[in-house]
């Protein structure tokens, strides 16, 4: 009699443990499917950021402005297509020049596999960028190696109104990520 009571108790405990385990698994599944934010999307601003890019280095560039149609715009871009990212200091090392002949301010983004990992402040014409801090948490999405599905996304903004232009420019690059 005692033995059967003991067995019954054990059986009940096992059943309770199984039910709790199932509930936990279902909870995790529901969270993963509906609530987990796998991609923190960076939204592209409609107006230029107020803050200038602090890593921008001015050039002595007094070239003539691009000849652009009335109401339109234009940018020149000069860049090396190889970019290095250091995970240790969470910084991208690049060589991007926004020549003085451009008529637009720009915001420079580095995209890898379609995701923005770095985004500059506003860069006025006549500046060069040699390094750019990664966005918060971006280093966690990257691992050592070479990414060929990468690009600079150049967002153009009217220097007077700050409004984003209707034309984006994308330049294909190769990104090497190091520790």
């Amino acid at each position: 009699m005692e033995k059967s009571e003991k067995q019954e108790k054990q059986r009940r405990l096992i059943i309770i443990a199984l039910i709790i385990g199932m509930a936990v698994c279902m909870g995790v599944t529901i969270w993963a499917l509906f609530f987990r934010n796998t991609q923190e999307q960076v939204l592209i601003p409609d107006y230029a950021p107020q803050a200038a890019e602090q890593n921008a280095e001015p050039l002595s560039d007094n070239g003539e402005k691009l000849d652009v149609p009335s109401g339109g715009g234009g940018i020149s871009l000069e860049y090396d297509s190889s970019v290095n990212i250091s995970l240790a200091d969470k910084t991208a090392y690049l060589n991007y020049t926004h020549p003085g002949r451009s008529t637009q301010d720009i915001v420079l983004c580095i995209e890898i596999n379609g995701e923005i990992v770095a985004q500059s402040g506003t860069i006025e014409p006549g500046n060069r960028l040699k390094k750019l801090a990664l966005l918060d948490g971006a280093e966690k999405k990257l691992s050592e190696g070479t990414y060929t599905d990468a690009d600079f996304r150049v967002l153009s903004y009217d220097p007077e109104s700050g409004e984003k232009a209707m034309v984006d420019t994308v330049a294909k690059i190769t990104v090497t990520v190091e520790k």
Partner: protein
């Protein structure tokens, strides 16, 4: 011990002697000694590729105009609207200029913003390549390409002010320039273009200073013009089309590779097409040997002839050797029987023409 000391003393003495002798040599030259210094120049300059491009756009303003008429519907006590919407554009051009020392490719796309997905956009040129700026002036027209954006679809009547409805994106990447069609007006330009490989189009008649050797894949579009000279295929895929090749000493030579002759008129006092090796495909061509000798000699290659062809002069054949010259479906001004696979083709004479047709 004594031996060690003796050895040390002997070595010291000999070193002093050599120093003395050296000092004596300089003293003989009046205290001066010329020592020869040599140098040489070694170059290891790597050409860095720099991408430099301009992207210029117009005001990108589009107007969707709806015109029509309201017709009173007696049954419904309401109006039936008969209307038609039409798009017009102002400043809808996007141009890309290449100032790089490498060719670039540009792809232009349009994507509507959320909320305006019914408005779609199309570019007159969605993809193009621009040649390297190396060797060209800053404002060379070939370095710039322009495309126009047109919109279609319906725009809501609520949008009564100019509102951003989409974004055009210009994507730039380094290119190998293989699809760029170069133009050639002179022998030097033609030779240069063929040396680089790719496509080249003649803009006028060209007389060659010497034979053109094709060592890279090339498409030579004569575009109705004439080359006076000889072209040889060394070991590439070469196409020559749409024009005349004239030369005293033969026009086309095939050493190796594949040579495609399309819509060409070749006239010479020697053999128009001479095949030492490789494969030659002749389509819709005229071959004239002005002396009446062979129009085609195939020594050790494979030749395939099709389309409408006129040969003045025989096609070489040998009694002792199998010649791999094949006449396929087409119309010919000579009896092609010796070169037609009778199992797969029929030959019909029609006046002074012979028609070969697949069975």
């Amino acid at each position: 011990m004594k031996k060690a000391i003796s050895l040390a003393l002997a070595l010291s003495l000999s070193s002093v002697l050599s120093t003395t002798a050296f000092a004596a040599a300089i003293e003989e030259n009046g205290g001066k000694q010329d020592i020869g210094v040599k140098a040489k120049y070694i170059e290891n300059i790597v050409t860095e590729k720099t991408i430099y491009a301009d992207v210029v756009w117009g005001e990108m303003e589009f107007t969707y105009s709806v015109s029509g008429s309201k017709i009173w519907n007696v049954d419904e006590h309401d109006y039936d609207l008969e209307s038609e919407g039409k798009w017009s554009a102002s400043g809808n051009e996007i141009s890309v200029t290449n100032h790089s020392n490498t060719p670039i490719a540009a792809d232009v796309t349009y994507k509507p913003l959320a909320g305006y997905s019914e408005v779609t956009g199309k570019l007159t040129k969605e993809s193009f390549e621009l040649p390297s700026a190396e060797g060209k002036t800053y404002d060379d027209a070939s370095l710039t390409e322009t495309t126009e954006l047109t919109l279609s679809g319906e725009l809501s009547r609520d949008v009564t002010k100019m509102t951003k409805v989409g974004t055009a994106t210009v994507t730039i990447s380094e290119s190998d320039g293989s699809s760029i069609v170069k133009e050639a007006a002179t022998y030097a330009e033609l030779k240069d273009a063929i040396a680089q490989g790719g496509s080249v189009k003649l803009t006028g008649d060209i007389t060659l200073s010497s034979r053109i050797n094709c060592k890279k894949d090339a498409v030579i579009d004569l575009d109705g013009h004439t080359i006076t000279g000889q072209i040889m295929n060394n070991n590439s895929e070469v196409t020559v089309k749409n024009g005349k090749i004239l030369n005293v000493d033969g026009t086309i030579m095939s050493q190796k590779g594949t040579t495609n002759l399309i819509n060409c008129y070749m006239s010479t006092k020697a053999t128009p097409v001479y095949v030492m090796g490789g494969t030659v495909n002749i389509t819709d061509c005229t071959l004239i040997n002005e002396t009446g000798n062979y129009s085609l000699i195939n020594n050790n290659g494979a030749v395939y002839i099709s389309g409408t062809n006129s040969f003045t002069g025989e096609i070489y054949k040998s009694a002792n050797k199998v010649i791999n010259t094949n006449i396929l479906a087409g119309t010919y001004n000579f009896d092609p029987t010796d070169f037609v696979d009778a199992e797969n083709f029929t030959i019909t004479q029609d006046g002074e023409s012979w028609v070969v047709a697949a069975k």
